[in-house]
């Protein structure tokens, strides 16, 4: 049977890890044998109360990270798409160059930005000093207040071209006649944008929103390479906490419990999203 290997692997990949994680989250895991003892919800209780994990702050920081990066990527991607959809002569080459950051491996872009943002000797601080703005030069990644936003910028830099490409693809389907008709009817630019452009790319945006949210929740590379969760946990998100619990502290019970909570959060988000999507589709969209 042609599909047998694939089906088996898929089942293995979906079902087994899920069950194993759930089981581990309810157990104490002893290394190196991986013997488990059932402890009920003790791991979850530990996570919520352990000040070393700081669940409250962790959740808050993760939400900040996800909201911040998704917003930044969408804002940059949307504006860039509108700019390059205008098809002004001599901008085609620009479009090609703007996409470049997206093609970079994540470790490469993280290292690149770590180098640019180095305190004092990085090119950003050097340039600021060169312009006489010494006051603005800053230890971007070393200061707990600026570390997270700094990594957000690097992360968004690497990802906004993807949003741009998606939106551009969506805009390509809009006939110019629609705008002409709108203008004849006396619509201003905001109305044209709101009632022609936005509906045209709505489907694409919805897909992009899920993908980007999941990716932001998942993101590990950029944060790990640029700051490793520091300074003073300022860039520690839920993903990094799972890694730290499992592979720095070797507490697989805690890591699994953190994973289960993250999985539940992801499922909840998806359910809310699909419900909202269905509700909005039930109403006649202004197409």
């Amino acid at each position: 049977m042609l599909v047998l290997p694939a089906t088996v692997l898929i089942a293995l990949m979906m079902v087994y890890p899920t069950l194993q994680t759930v089981w581990f989250s309810l157990s104490t895991v002893r290394l190196p044998t991986f013997q488990t003892t059932f402890v009920g919800l003790a791991n979850f209780a530990n996570i919520l109360t352990d000040p070393a994990i700081g669940a409250g702050q962790l959740v808050q920081r993760t939400i900040e990270w996800v909201a911040g990066t998704v917003l930044l990527r969408f804002a940059l991607g949307f504006v860039a798409a509108l700019v390059f959809n205008a098809k002004v002569r001599g901008t085609a080459w620009m479009r090609v160059l703007v996409v470049l950051p997206w093609t970079m491996p994540s470790v490469v872009s993280a290292n690149l930005w770590r180098w640019i943002l180095q305190s004092d000797v990085g090119v950003l601080d050097q340039t600021l000093k060169g312009w006489g703005l010494t006051r603005l030069a800053h230890n971007w990644l070393g200061d707990p207040h600026t570390a997270l936003p700094a990594v957000m910028v690097a992360y968004s830099w690497a990802g906004f071209p993807f949003i741009m490409l998606l939106i551009l693809a969506g805009l390509q389907g809009v006939p110019v006649e629609q705008y002409e008709a709108g203008a004849v009817d006396g619509a201003n630019w905001w109305q044209l944008f709101r009632f022609i452009t936005v509906p045209a790319v709505r489907g694409v945006l919805a897909i992009a929103l899920i993908l980007e949210t999941v990716q932001a929740v998942n993101s590990f590379d950029t944060l790990t390479v640029m700051t490793g969760g520091g300074p003073a946990n300022a860039t520690q998100t839920w993903s990094l906490a799972i890694y730290r619990a499992g592979f720095t502290d070797y507490n697989f019970g805690a890591a699994s419990a953190l994973s289960v909570l993250m999985f539940l959060a992801a499922v909840t988000l998806l359910v809310i999203y699909s419900a909202a999507n269905r509700a909005s589709q039930a109403q006649p969209a202004p197409r």
Binding site: M1, P5, A6, V107, F162, F193, V214
Partner: protein, 297 residues
């Protein structure tokens, strides 16, 4: 910028005087051009700085004001990384991992995609679910169970182990992409071939595969780029210099003297080249595939 949207329509309305629109149109063009340049600088500036770092001697790295154009130009960093065991080993490991993942993903993708496209059987919808699953499931969540599975299989800290893990992520997407293409090929062509005495393997090889080339390219690229760039799984499932791929080697690129940024940027360039080639080669194809469900890892 949203003004740009109106430019196709506004000038042709009778109520707006011709001169005014021409002037505002020119203004819009300037605005678009300026914003475009701004985006180019934002995107390319950091890359140019990395390139400049890779091409100038160590003493100039911290010079003030920052030196964008290296003088003197040097290739000493490229020479240095060609003697760097971690980088060379990592590069070879990554090459082996990415090409094996791609080859196996294509093979299984073709067989699975054809099967899912042409035969009815129970559990067909698992495919769609598994595609969604691999794309939407938080990847950090599976590192613990995968870790244990690999230990059981004695594949921890081996290249085949890492390839297996990547295949699990890549399979559903490659099958999905290829199946979508097979769906569009009319069954009648195949029926005619079979009537003429063509076997199924030959049918696949000589009739179906050539037609499905774009899907195969897309699936291959997806697999290759994912395996080439991946960092989290590589970090967890390998230890020591010998088995580490390039991504991990570059993430911990530090010696007793701290980080040699020139060397690191030279090695980063080495790591980026395959990705840049693959992406520019087939940007449009990829975006079409992406907007239909798959995505960059």
């Amino acid at each position: 910028m949203t003004l740009l949207e109106t430019q196709g329509g506004a000038p042709r309305t009778a109520t707006v005087p011709e001169t005014r629109t021409r002037k505002s149109r020119a203004g819009q063009h300037v605005l678009v051009y300026a914003l475009g340049l701004l985006f180019v600088w934002f995107s390319v500036g950091p890359l140019l700085w990395g390139l400049s770092t890779a091409l100038k001697p160590e003493v100039d790295q911290y010079s003030f004001p920052p030196q964008w154009i290296p003088s003197p130009l040097t290739f000493e960093h490229f020479v240095a990384i060609s003697h760097n065991h971690a980088v060379i080993r990592g590069f070879l490991n990554t090459l082996i991992i990415a090409s094996s993942t791609t080859a196996i993903a294509l093979l299984v993708g073709v067989l699975g995609g054809y099967g899912f496209s042409r035969f009815q059987f129970p559990g067909r919808t698992t495919l769609l679910w598994s595609v969604l699953f691999t794309q939407l499931f938080p990847r950090v969540v599976v590192i613990v169970p995968f870790f244990i599975t690999l230990r059981h299989l004695y594949l921890m800290n081996t290249l085949p182990g890492l390839i297996l893990v990547y295949l699990m992520v890549v399979f559903p997407v490659s099958i999905w992409l290829i199946k979508g293409f097979f769906d569009k090929i009319p069954v009648e062509i195949e029926e005619a071939a079979v009537v003429d005495g063509c076997s199924i393997p030959r049918l696949l090889w000589q009739i179906v595969l050539p037609v499905a080339k774009p899907a195969l390219i897309a699936a291959a690229m997806y697999a290759f780029i994912l395996a080439w760039n991946e960092f989290l799984f590589a970090l967890v499932f390998t230890q020591g210099l010998d088995k580490r791929p390039l991504s991990v080697a570059l993430a911990f690129f530090i010696d007793e003297n701290g980080i040699r940024w020139g060397d690191l940027m030279a090695a980063s360039l080495l790591m980026s080249i395959p990705a840049i080639i693959v992406f520019t080669f087939s940007q449009r194809l990829l975006v079409r595939g992406l907007s239909e469900g798959a995505l960059k890892g």
